[in-house]
């Protein structure tokens, strides 16, 4: 039998301002989040605007965005509220358009050590 593990969640943060990634990761370290994966990403609006001319006339429906960063981190559930607050502090409020979205997902099983 394996030892009981702390409850974990997967935090997903999509930052519309890639330049803020450094600040976010510094904040992760400060709060005790020891690992994350950062993926260069593009939102649906960006792809539709730039790569799908059939929708060009409706471009205004979609946010204008040149790129984003998706940050994935499995972390202890006890850190989640503080990480949400950290994101709000860095972004200056999640209610602003084209700032960031973040959400959590339950982690049913976790294996592997990265650090």
């Amino acid at each position: 039998m394996s030892e009981a593990q702390p409850r974990r969640k997967l935090m997903v943060i999509i930052l519309d301002q890639p330049a803020l990634v450094d600040e976010l990761l510094t904040g992760f370290l400060d709060l005790g989040v020891r690992g994350a994966t950062v993926v260069e990403s593009r939102g649906m609006g960006s792809i539709i605007r730039q790569d799908m001319p059939i929708f060009a006339g409706l471009a205004s429906l979609f946010p204008e965005n040149t790129g984003s960063r998706m940050v994935l981190s499995v972390m202890a559930e006890s850190l989640i509220d503080r990480v949400f607050s950290l994101v709000e502090e860095i972004i200056g409020g999640l209610d602003k358009p084209n700032s960031a979205v973040c959400f959590t997902l339950p982690v049913e099983q976790f294996r592997g050590i990265r650090h």
Binding site: E23, T26, G27, F28, L29, D30, L31, R82, S85, L86
Partner: protein
């Protein structure tokens, strides 16, 4: 990670001009050794020097974070100093550093060390914070302002 447990009023200084990075580190090592039981100035100075030689800890904002992990100590602490006129830490593209944080921690507490450095970096990166700190009239006010700036963050 809140810094109030690591900042100490007796390790907060407002210094006159210093002409070189090594001189500054030596001076701060001596002042730390005078205040902290179990710390000897010379090994601390050597550790700080070696760390700077591996990579300068200054930033483009005129702040430096020299740091060392030492055997034989149990608790981390931060010494904070304002240096009149600033001192070059050796990286020509950075301005002279007039805000300096020396972090000292136990050799077996690497993650705590990283977290404290990250906290200091966050605080110093906040717009307005460095000017607030630089405007401190004396060491006591610098200590108070550091605690206040720390309390502003998650």
């Amino acid at each position: 990670m809140r810094l109030d447990q690591f900042l100490r009023p007796d390790l907060t200084f407002k210094l006159d001009a210093v002409d070189a990075c090594d001189r500054l580190l030596e001076m701060l090592s001596q002042r730390i050794a005078n205040q902290v039981e179990g710390i000897d100035a010379e090994p601390l100075f050597t550790a700080l020097q070696e760390r700077e030689q591996r990579g300068v800890t200054s930033t483009p904002d005129g702040v430096a974070f020299p740091h060392a992990m030492l055997e034989g100590i149990e608790d981390s602490f931060i010494a904070a100093a304002l240096v009149a006129g600033g001192v070059s830490m050796g990286r020509s593209e950075h301005p002279p550093c007039d805000v300096v944080f020396v972090l000292v921690g136990p050799a077996n507490a690497a993650w705590e060390h990283v977290r404290i450095l990250a906290r200091l970096a966050r605080i110093c990166h906040t717009p307005g914070t460095l000017n607030h700190l630089r405007g401190s009239a004396d060491a006591s006010q610098l200590h108070e302002r550091l605690l206040a700036e720390d309390a502003r963050h998650v």
